[in-house]
Amino acid sequence: MPVAIEVEGLVRRFGARTALAGVDLRVEAGAVHALLGPNGAGKTTLLRVLTGLVDPSEGAVRVLGTDERGRAARGRVGLVPAGDRSFYLRISGLENLVFFARLHGLRRRAAFARAREVLDEVGLAEAAERPVGGWSHGMQKRLSVARALLTSPPVLLVDEATHDLDPEGAERIRALIGGLASGGTAVLWATQRVDEIRGFASGVTFLDRGRVRFAGSVEGLMAQAASRRYVIRVRNGRPGPLVADQLATLLAERASVAPGAGSDGEHFRLEPADGIPLGSAIAALADGGIDVLACRQERSEIEEAFLALTGDRA
């Protein structure tokens, strides 16, 4: 697939503060690439540079093979901004989209037709004539996506699109964007929600304090810090409450154990020793008459990686 976004050695300074310190990034057409990082990592600044709203201090930025940053370049990039205050709240969703469509050069009739199409695509056709001020958060976010789709841009930049949405709303947005990527659109998806990029993004660039800490596949990111901490739920086959010391005795050198949240005598934190498989530790407990009813990772691999890359600041 051709490269749609290419960034090399991008530096952006705001006075004495360096928001981006030599960022490299490549996003191919048809891919969803996650731009992951904690608050203040530089994600929004990077998107603003790509949209032409902010000029780079140093470095090269090429979108669709050109480093042109004028008006024509802006027409090829769709932006879903982070906030939901990017519409005229007193007028309808349809009127808002028609206005932005006309700024993209569509004639009045074509603008109305396209606005209705994209409203339908994002499931807002019924609310189209109502003032946006009365819409829910999720609806305004979908309207934002609809606006970005007005000209079917080959590059789509999405900034924290789901951070304040309920799971259903977030999934709906991801499905919409995923569908666009399947159609060939290059998507750069900025987020701090580590859980949403697995199974959605094909590549990930991890930014922290303006620097790239990781660039590669989501699987590669997870491998950065494979989680070795588990929460187990157990039942004592013998009478009397369980304490961590009993489990520690059974596990011996195989794993360390500590009471879980609430210290309810049922949940414990288990961390196998280096080189010891989880199954071996669980088998030791079973041999000691302890039934292991459930076992899950304390944090996902991706969450572990996030924390490892930010030095646990996040």
């Binding site: 902010v54 802006r74 932006l79 901004p81 205050r85 005229y88 009127e95 700024l103 009045r108 003032p131």
Partner: protein
């Protein structure tokens, strides 16, 4: 040329948006008219105290104080509304969070500047003319119907002045995030030296000499000559010839200052901040 036409074709979209938004604020829409009506009623009582012989004559005719002040008030209001709306248009976009979305479209900065005030520039002079007509009918003022068109053109020649001044103030507002105080003082000073509610001859001579070059004062006198003195086209064209260079110079300076302010925001990456 095609690019310019493409940009011009975007202007009706701004006008449509602003008309839709304005119609959603029906009370505010009517408040300007009611405010002016209240002022005229106040001055109709003040007029009873004023010795008309101390007022200048127009076309050799002695006018009433209400005739004198109504023209001044309407133009003063027109300038105030234009200044306020032009200066605040971009700031309004910034405050409501729409400025970055606007600037992210393939639209020239000049189009955003003009588009954001297009409806105001069209509607305010039109409303001023209609208000003047309504006042004349209600209070039985002796306006010359033949002077309406020359007066309207004199008012139109004032529009670039208000626009330029508004853009310069808008640039300051975008940069410093506050500007209503400056705007208030500026409007008051322009009003003081405009001859809107009293003849300029009453000012100290040095201030009267400066006020002669105040575009608002030139426009007000031009409108009075046309409507009250039946001065005709030659006087109106002379006023327009004086007014237009001042207006265009102010507009050019306003565009430059506003552009510099926006470029600065873009460089600093603070365009969307408020």
């Amino acid at each position: 040329m095609t690019a310019v036409l493409a940009e011009v074709a975007k202007l009706p979209a701004f006008v449509r948006r602003d008309v839709k938004v304005a119609l959603s604020y029906r009370v505010a829409f009517a408040s300007d008219v009611l405010g002016l009506a209240a002022q005229v009623v106040v001055f109709s009582f003040v007029a009873k105290l004023v010795d008309a012989s101390r007022l200048p004559t127009y076309g050799g005719t002695q006018i009433t104080y209400l005739e004198f002040v109504a023209t001044g008030l309407v133009l003063n209001l027109m300038l105030g509304v234009l200044l306020y709306r032009v200066a605040g248009a971009i700031r309004q976009e910034q405050l409501q969070g729409t400025l970055e979305s606007l600037m992210a479209t393939p639209t020239a900065t000049a189009t955003v500047q003009i588009g954001s005030v297009a409806s105001t520039l069209l509607m305010v002079p039109l409303r001023a003319t209609l208000m003047m007509g309504a006042i004349a009918i209600v209070f039985g003022l002796n306006f010359d119907p033949g002077g309406i068109l020359p007066a309207a053109l004199v008012m139109a020649a004032l529009v670039p002045f208000a626009w330029g001044l508004g853009l310069a103030t808008g640039g300051a507002i975008v940069t410093f995030r506050r500007g209503s105080g400056v705007l208030g003082v500026g409007t008051a000073l322009l009003g003081l030296a405009s001859g809107a509610v009293f003849p300029l001859a009453l000012l100290p001579s040095w201030l009267a000499a400066i006020a002669e070059w105040n575009p608002l004062a030139i426009a007000i006198e031009g409108v009075r000559e046309a409507l009250l003195g039946s001065a005709g086209w030659s006087e109106a064209l002379a006023d327009i010839a004086l007014l237009l260079p001042l207006s265009c110079l102010t507009l050019a300076a306003g565009i430059l200052l506003f552009r510099l302010a926006l470029d600065r925001e873009r460089r600093r990456g603070t365009l969307g901040m408020y």
